[in-house]
Symmetry: C2
Subunit: 300 residues, 2 copies
């Protein structure tokens, strides 16, 4: 059971996209939390804080988008509430089911390799383009904005991850006995911060290889090799997960049905180290929580 909220002026502005996309996105950010546990989403309730100036047509369209996303994910919208407010806010609580195995943040073990699905940093760039903070043109602009407005929750990948049994290895004999589900989290706050949650909860450290961070062609077109938003920008809703060594990214890509890249490994100790980046970024990465301020917050 999870809950998430989108507030006008904080997380979005109305002019940025269609009401349908807004409704779909409000559910998707919750679906992503279920995906990160390997769950199957089942039912949701919706709280709508409405402000003056938005008519029936707007809410019909918002609910159409939300309903479409719910239907596509097999989710029943089972109830809701409407309240008055000064700003539009859509808060959705979502219920999901799992079997006895579930992806957890505290399951990372030294030796595990760290993977991410898709590419990271795109949504943060899209948000900055929409907010007028970053110039971009053409296909790159379109792609990055779309990544922000229309995220995809990695539900199928999460469900496959939880069903897959890590192959037992000499370094991970535990997996042969207990078949633990791998550690995973969805990248909503930014790769570095969400990785930090896994490390903190698991009591381990990580080494991340900067050149291995997966960037989209659009990201490269706008930012080149600057990894700041790939590491610090949120809202991508990709999955980060850990896996015992012995599986290539190509094999995991085939098994999960989504592009997967290996970005580093879990080590003993605490905190994450960034390898292979320029000195400034390496120093920034070494500062705990150093990218908090880069989250797309407060659009006003």
């Amino acid at each position: 059971m999870t809950i998430d909220s989108m507030v006008e002026g904080v997380h979005f502005k109305l002019g940025w996209g269609t009401p349908e996309a807004l409704g779909a996105r409000a559910l998707t950010v919750n679906l992503s939390d279920i995906a990160a546990m390997g769950g199957v989403p089942t039912a949701c309730v919706v709280n709508l804080a409405i402000r003056p100036g938005l008519g029936t047509r707007f809410f019909d369209r918002l609910y159409a988008g939300l309903g479409g996303a719910a239907a596509a994910a097999g989710v029943d919208v089972v109830g809701g509430n409407i309240t008055a407010a000064d700003a539009l806010a859509i808060t959705i609580a979502l219920l999901g089911e799992t079997g006895p195995r579930v992806l957890r943040r505290d399951a990372a073990r030294p030796g595990d390799e760290i993977f991410v699905t898709g590419t990271v940093g795109d949504a943060a760039l899209g948000w900055r383009i929409l907010a007028g903070k970053l110039p971009a043109r053409g296909a790159a602009r379109k792609f990055l904005i779309d990544r922000f407005l229309n995220p995809i929750a990695r539900l199928a990948a999460g469900q496959r991850l939880v069903r897959m049994s890590p192959a037992p290895t000499a370094r991970n004999p535990r997996s042969a006995r207990q078949k633990p589900a791998p550690a995973a989290i969805d990248i909503s706050d930014g790769l570095w911060q969400d990785l930090g949650h896994v490390l903190d909860r698991s009591g381990v450290g990580a080494e991340i290889e900067a050149p291995a961070i997966p960037l989209s062609p659009a990201y490269r077109a706008v930012k080149g090799d600057d990894l700041e938003l790939a590491l610090g920008g949120g809202e991508d809703y990709e999955l980060l997960f850990c896996w015992p060594p012995g599986n290539s990214a190509a094999a995991l890509t085939r098994r999960l049905g989504v592009p997967v890249h290996r970005i580093g490994k879990i080590v003993g100790g605490r905190g994450a180290t960034l390898l292979g980046a320029d000195a400034a970024l390496t120093r920034a990465a070494a500062r705990a929580g150093g990218w908090d301020q880069l989250r797309p917050q407060d659009t006003r």
Copy 2:
């Protein structure tokens, strides 16, 4: 699964009560929805929209109140989310369980008698006193404000109602075979409006006896026999339920463990008729939804 939200400036002002009471009340309004189905609440998630100017101490106290109410109701707070906003808003989604029988809004049948727990209208008066719209002093003032700030969800009464089998009667032979659960709703929007939901969903009408509406001594001290807010004011979180004839209010009071009053009966047709009131109130009651504007909304 249910969701409800309380927004600063719309549903409450901070100076009205303690942060603890605010946190407890945010859960209670959800517990009441579960009570109205005869369910057992199990787990909740909390979305907190926070604004500048509220410190850690405030939120510690708010969560202490929420946690206390959750513990008292056997509810686990299993997750949450925090977002920035211009106004404080607490949105809680609550999960509950039921057996195969559940209290429903569509189960009222002609011949059923209509009961309410406790007294009605108190919270609406308390809200008006807090908002400076109604003068009141002494014990009555204290009681009415407390009824608004510290509502009680009728969980045990709802659970007993759903377990009790209406005694079969000549007028209700169906109950002997099917043991249907009675119709019920919690009085959150006001007695008249919430009764209307039951009537609409059940496809029946009702005759309500104005002198039978249960008023607290404090209500009478402030408003005398003026029933307007007893019928139109919300936020009481009492239960309204229907029951086949043959059970006295006294017997139901003993069985449910809360004060119960009979206020009228379900009849064929549509809509509710108010009997035994003065002409102005009778006319107002006859206008469908005529009390919507009396709801405690928009304190600004």
